[in-house]
Subunit: 153 residues, 3 copies
């Protein structure tokens, strides 16, 4: 564990983040209370919330939002504007249950994808750009669409 | 009405905004000419345009974009990356008509949803994550998909 | 060619950008190595990557992401949160081929649209809000949905 990202960049907010070695964090980022593994790169306009864990050698692209409850293993690609959801019935009032999300080793989440709470995305799975993932994705499987379904053919 | 948000945060732009009491506004926000009600929270990377009105006790999550013509009542949840649209045929040239959007009390808009101009979202309605809302949503109704349709079952 | 945008704004990063005359660039932007034509307006929370080319009289709305390989002609509207993709199989490891994207004169891309690599969007075409464009769009054609299909009727 090291004290911070390996690069310097203006306009970024980093609070109580546990960094691996050689992490690069771009400008306009809001990271707090999360863990980020070795050699991972975090693009601009990204928020990563408290309790999220990101493995080594990942790419988290611009405009992604990674919430509490998300665990991302090593070598995962999170495309631009990918959004994770951790509540099934979001309401401003009352209680809610935080749903976990797991993204396993080597998976890739295409840009603009939305990943709902409670799902597991298997190793080397591929989520198509703009897909809305509402159930588990198997190892090496490719899913596309809204709701996301296995690619035919 | 008070002079500004109750919290302090770096990197935010606030111009000609009418604030209720106890509003919290996070960093990396661009708010101008809008109204924000009591106890509402505005996340990072949010833009709210001139003329938009947001009620009390709302949560506006990160990366949301709320345009002119949007009226949001009290206790509404606007998820991460939700985008409102106020023009039917966007073009760089020529005239366009601004279409109003109403989001009624207690509604929740899931993360990544897109809300088209001219629609009304009824009280306590639930818009699923990633849904593209092209017509009105009734009171307490749940809609999902692209285009958004009532949830079966 | 001129030295920079015609306006001033806090919190923006501009590096090695070729500007036409009278370009307006808002706050919270990250622009590098790209070309931007006369009178074009770039909204907040926008990233435009190295090698992207944007014509004259365009509007690039907030939260848009424009990647390397994208060529946008004159008078194009790029809605809020539009994301371009330039790799077919994104992975953190190994090689990848950059796919070009062309958006021709006068086209409009609705907010929240996702545009996949390798497609051409014809002149004055209209991409609906939230559409996921996976193949070419003809001149003047309107497409909607995920995947985007020509609008019936």
């Amino acid at each position: 564990m090291v004290d911070g990202p390996v690069n310097d960049a203006p306009y970024r907010l980093i609070e109580e983040v546990t960094f691996g070695e050689n992490v690069v964090v771009f400008s306009f980022t809001n990271l707090y209370g999360c863990e980020i593994g070795d050699n991972t790169r975090i693009g601009p306009f990204v928020e990563i919330q408290r309790g999220a864990r990101i493995g080594a050698n990942c790419k988290i692209q611009s405009h992604a939002f990674i919430c509490s409850g998300v665990e991302i293993e090593d070598e995962v690609f999170v495309g631009h504007g990918v959004v994770f959801v951790n509540d099934k019935y979001p309401r401003v009032d009352g209680d809610w249950e935080q749903l976990p999300i797991a993204v396993e080793r080597g998976a890739s989440l295409g840009s603009g994808a939305v990943i709902l709470g409670g799902v597991r995305i298997g190793p080397r799975a591929l989520v198509g750009a703009g897909a809305v993932v509402v159930r588990d994705v198997g190892s090496g499987e490719t899913v596309v669409g809204n709701p996301a379904r296995p690619l035919e053919g």
